[in-house]
């Protein structure tokens, strides 16, 4: 039975009020909201997206076939999938090399970023001096460092690409983690001081847990960036069997379906990495994730 008239439909906010009230009362209900209901709700939310996906792919395929679009303008999805399977040895080989660069840089960037962030907690002077610089440096197109890294660490070595990824990853991780560590509620630090806690204990008990969401937020950005940064760094030159060079080579030969297949590999790797971060986040912070609502990307 619908309780809503058009007045309520004017502004969708009343939906939220309903669910707020419901949520407030939920505690009083015996057994709470059944999980099957929750699951069903989530599935129902995915339906429009799935439909849109099928529609887009379907339209793409149909249009390119119908208009007989040349494959160098926009290849058919079916053709891309074909090439994806046909060249899978090559592209996954190249993908692996790129992944190594990305992961190497990611790890280095994270270690450095967290390290510097922890240092800024300890030495306030460092924080005041370094943070504004880091924020400014974040607005620099760091990718411009790629040619320099190629010169420093030998263009053929994966280290040159890792270095670029590391710098790209370092800044968001450092800035965000530092914020999370430092911007703790005064009430919490005061509580621990009243127990006579040492700075290290305050760090462990209060600051680090507080910084976790910030850290993971940056990690999500960083994981996505790492693959792209590696590929783009590869554009500036280096060994051939990496995704960046593969894509450029295929594009220059106008063999686009192959290039798209390689991009598909990059997307898969990026999404998988992001997914891994989500899983690790959920494992390490079950209390936080369950508090959050549904629609966060």
């Amino acid at each position: 039975m619908s309780h809503h008239d058009d007045a309520e439909r004017d502004l969708g906010i009343l939906e939220t009020h309903d669910s707020d009230v419901l949520a407030a009362f939920e505690g009083d209900l015996p057994g709470g909201v059944p999980t099957s209901a929750r699951l069903l709700r989530r599935l129902r939310r995915a339906v429009p997206a799935a439909v849109a996906f099928a529609a887009v792919i379907g339209a793409w395929e149909a249009l390119t076939r119908a208009l007989d679009v040349q494959s160098f303008i926009l290849p058919r999805p079916s053709l891309i999938v074909e090439r994806f399977i046909a060249t899978s040895g090559e592209i996954w080989g190249a993908g692996w090399n790129t992944l190594v660069e990305a992961l190497g840089g990611l790890v280095a960037g994270i270690v450095l970023g967290v390290g510097v962030a922890l240092a800024t907690v300890r030495w306030v002077g460092l924080r005041d001096g370094v943070m504004p610089f880091a924020v400014a440096a974040n607005s620099v197109p760091i990718i411009a460092l790629a040619p320099i890294m190629n010169a420093w660490f030998s263009i053929t070595s994966p280290v040159s690409k890792m270095a670029v990824v590391a710098v790209v990853v370092f800044f968001p991780v450092m800035i965000n983690t530092a914020r999370g560590l430092v911007e703790v509620d005064a009430a919490e630090t005061e509580l621990l001081h009243s127990y006579g806690a040492s700075p290290r204990q305050v760090l462990r008990q209060v600051r680090v847990p507080h910084a976790f969401p910030y850290f993971f937020s940056a990690l999500k950005v960083a994981s996505a960036l790492s693959i792209i940064a590696a590929i783009v760094a590869e554009y500036f030159g280096g060994p051939q069997d990496v995704l960046g060079q593969y894509i450029v080579a295929k594009a220059n030969l106008f063999v686009y379906p192959d290039a798209w297949a390689a991009i598909l590999v990059a997307s898969i790797m990026g999404t998988t990495l992001y997914g891994l971060v989500l899983i690790v986040e959920r494992l390490l912070m079950p209390w936080h994730v369950s508090l959050r609502g549904g629609d966060e990307p």
């Binding site: 502004l11 429009p48 997206a49 849109a52 610089f133 400014a136 040619p147 783009v232 594009a251 390689a262």
Partner: protein
């Protein structure tokens, strides 16, 4: 009188914070500029010290301190005032021209992406269905590494007879619109339910709610995204310029000078510096606009990276 005393206290208390806040903000800005300049100079000092010590101790890792791999800081700056090639313009003029070219690509892409992102954000707020259907794609679009497609985008543009710089702008647009959509959505949804109830009690139309409540609330979020997008636009422009055939722009200069590294490495370093300045300049302009538009409230921190 009770009312008089109750009034006077908050009155005095309200004026003092207002003045103090303005002063604090100005001091803060100077401190920030000082810090950036300070750290930059500090890095230059570290550079030279490393060269000195490295050369004395004959170090080869992590980086060789010789004058090719690590030219002196003053050599890099000096290089700007030498001709870019025999009989050519001064490097600084050449780079400025290229920077403007790259900046134009970035600006056009930025503007297009911002408008598109804002529009999508508003559309998603109005229609739950649209949001549920398309938001996942907006998110997924970012897993497609547009920068990886950059070479193709430019060649496509050529085939479709679009001027090259416009094709590059498309890359910047793509990189811009995502943070803007996400943050616009967040910002438009940020007013609490009480504010929405208030608007409803005035029988405000959805359009009035949008423009009088939601959009002004969203501005801080949108500007946070715009600052991220500014950098992304510049990166997009630089990368878009890399494919063969592009002669103007900073991206091409980076590639060319990196090939000339052994001959004159200072040119590459100078170009990297100019690229960095372009990025900083763009973000600073956005920040300036932000301060003009959002001058009323006290500074609220919106975590830029948490939004991405």
């Amino acid at each position: 009188m009770r009312h008089a005393t109750e009034r006077d206290q908050p009155a005095a208390a309200a004026v003092v914070p207002a003045v103090a806040a303005a002063n604090a903000a100005a001091a803060d800005r100077w401190r920030r500029i000082l810090s950036v300049v300070g750290v930059t100079l500090g890095l230059a000092v570290v550079w030279e010290v490393y060269k000195l010590v490295g050369n004395a101790l004959d170090l080869t890792t992590p980086v060789r301190p010789d004058n090719v791999t690590m030219p002196h800081v003053w050599d890099v700056v000096g290089e700007l005032f030498r001709p870019v090639r025999r009989g050519g313009d001064l490097l600084i003029l050449d780079l400025t021209g290229r920077a403007l070219w790259t900046l134009r690509e970035a600006l056009v892409g930025f503007a297009a992406g911002a408008i598109l992102g804002f529009g999508l954000g508003v559309a998603f707020t109005r229609s739950r269905l649209a949001e549920q259907a398309f938001l996942p794609y907006v998110v997924a679009s970012q897993t497609v590494p547009i920068l990886a497609i950059a070479p193709m985008v430019v060649v496509w543009g050529g085939r479709l007879d679009i001027p090259q710089w416009l094709a590059v702008s498309i890359i910047s647009t793509y990189l811009t619109f995502f943070p803007v959509v996400i943050n616009t959505l967040r910002g438009l949804r940020s007013p609490d339910s009480t504010a929405m109830e208030l608007m409803r009690s005035y029988a405000a139309t959805p359009r009035e709610v949008l423009w009088k409540l939601q959009v002004p609330s969203a501005l801080p979020y949108i500007f946070t995204a715009l600052k991220v997008s500014a950098t992304a636009s510049v990166i997009g422009a630089l990368i878009g310029e890399l494919p063969a055939g592009f002669q103007t722009g900073l991206g091409r200069a980076l590639l060319t000078f990196s090939q000339q590294f052994a001959v004159r490495s200072a040119k590459l370093y100078a170009t990297v510096l100019v690229s960095a300045l372009v990025g900083i300049l763009f973000v600073s302009v956005v920040t300036l606009v932000e301060h003009r538009v959002i001058h009323h409230s006290r500074p609220t921190e919106v975590d830029a990276l948490a939004a991405a």
